[in-house]
Symmetry: C2
Subunit: 268 residues, 2 copies
């Protein structure tokens, strides 16, 4: 988390650029070549990178090789989040944590809460690594379970499931290395999460291709000084142009997002 | 699911053997060599294999290569489940589904329900592949969220979250290619899940190293004729011996589990 705060400060940027190489959208070059061009073009403009493992896994051995080389290629002082959304029982979770933090070399990871504490703890036990727990995701199906009204275990109140998850995350964050994932597409939920966890770093997807309202998301997640959130965007930046100028177009889109976020923050 | 039923019938076995190569427990040989020896020793005794991706991912490129060759090596008529517990928004879930079903060649997959329908649908849309949705997992942390009492969306009743998940799975199972994961360690929960989904294939972990009660799990999941569940065991079988006789010991352990299950079924 220190590394993340420093990278944000140095580049004055709350942009988290998702490196999600989609063969249907990217130019006709290799994944590693594509990522290197994007990183070269954006590394002075972003506070963090994020790689969604699905895109690399779909490409098999070549994808995994490109992912490992991409993680190595990213400048030392910019954190990279392994957007893996893993969740498994303790014994298995230890192997996932090893895969993400040691084999792949990520600085942090996204984890699914459904399996409970013993599925999250093996990631948290790497005290120098970050863990972003899924809380309220940005997709439409999120409401199926995350918004169910639950009887909270520590009170007699009914609360939506995601609020119980946020409350648990606060309890589990003993080493200060935990954050939450909450989609920009649900601002009221963002507000509630920020109330429950006033100090936690938030990772906010859903402002790009998913059309969440950036200004509302900023106001909901950073109502007070010192509160921080990073805003993940992938497709809108990576595929700003499909032509040879894709890297330059990505630079412009990332710079524009940085400017937009900072303008909204500074106008408050 | 047809392939699974046929493999179960042919081998008279409800054993699902988990191929989870753990470097701390396995003999000092390569993953692929280990898996091949285990498969050779057990392929007439099991109804399905299951590979937990964490163990392969932790081993990097070598692990992924061994996984792909393992999937190829398994006899054509035995289904292999990719125990990946994936869950991500629709666009990303499509890439995970491609990775599991096309790149890796699994017959079925385990999926996490937390993100809701659009995270599950891309897997279900492969009509010739199976999808086991996590419902009530076998670990102790499962109670953190899965057992929370929720206001069910289709009634005014309070139900545990996992029961809402089971109900949704029933609705989502339009192509008959869905099953549920429910741990043997929680027999009362198994009973409730079986009541909600009387016809669904259940994948039951937790009978081996996790010490769930096999007889109770069988009675809870197969109270009526025609109902089916497969029982996953990994460590108890794979690491029955640490010596050179590991494959023979695995054969004996797998055979013993098959016999135990069938004896309990036949004594009813």
């Amino acid at each position: 988390m220190d590394k993340l705060h420093k990278a944000i400060d140095k580049r004055d940027s709350l942009v988290c650029l998702g490196l999600d190489p989609d063969p249907e959208l990217m130019p006709d070059i290799g994944i590693l070549e594509f990522n290197k061009a994007i990183i070269d073009a954006t590394c002075d403009l972003v506070g963090a990178y994020k790689a969604n493992l699905a895109f690399y896994e779909a490409a098999g051995i070549d994808g995994l090789t490109a992912l490992m080389k991409t993680v190595e290629y990213i400048p030392e002082d910019i954190p990279i989040i392994g957007d893996a959304k893993r969740g498994d029982i303790g014994n298995t979770a230890r192997h996932y944590a090893k895969a993400i933090f040691e084999t792949l070399g990520f600085d942090s990871v996204t984890v699914n809460p459904y399996l409970g504490y013993d599925a999250v703890e093996p990631f948290l036990s790497y005290h120098d690594k970050g863990v972003f727990l899924l809380c309220r995701t940005s997709n439409s199906g999120a409401a199926d379970f995350q918004s169910l009204s639950c009887l909270s275990p520590d009170s007699c109140e009914q609360k939506p499931l995601f609020a119980v998850v946020a409350q648990k995350a606060k309890e589990w964050n003993k080493h200060g290395n935990m954050g939450l994932v909450a989609g920009a597409t649900y601002p009221e939920e963002l507000k509630l999460i920020r109330m429950i966890c006033p100090d936690m770093m938030l990772l906010i997807p859903g402002i790009g291709a998913q059309e969440g309202d950036l200004a509302r998301a900023i106001h909901c997640t950073m109502p007070a000084k010192g509160q921080r959130a990073i805003f993940a965007s992938s497709r809108r930046i990576l595929y700003a142009s499909k032509g040879h100028d894709f890297a330059q177009a990505a630079r412009e889109a990332a710079g524009q997002l940085r400017t937009n976020i900072n303008s909204i923050l500074n106008s408050d």
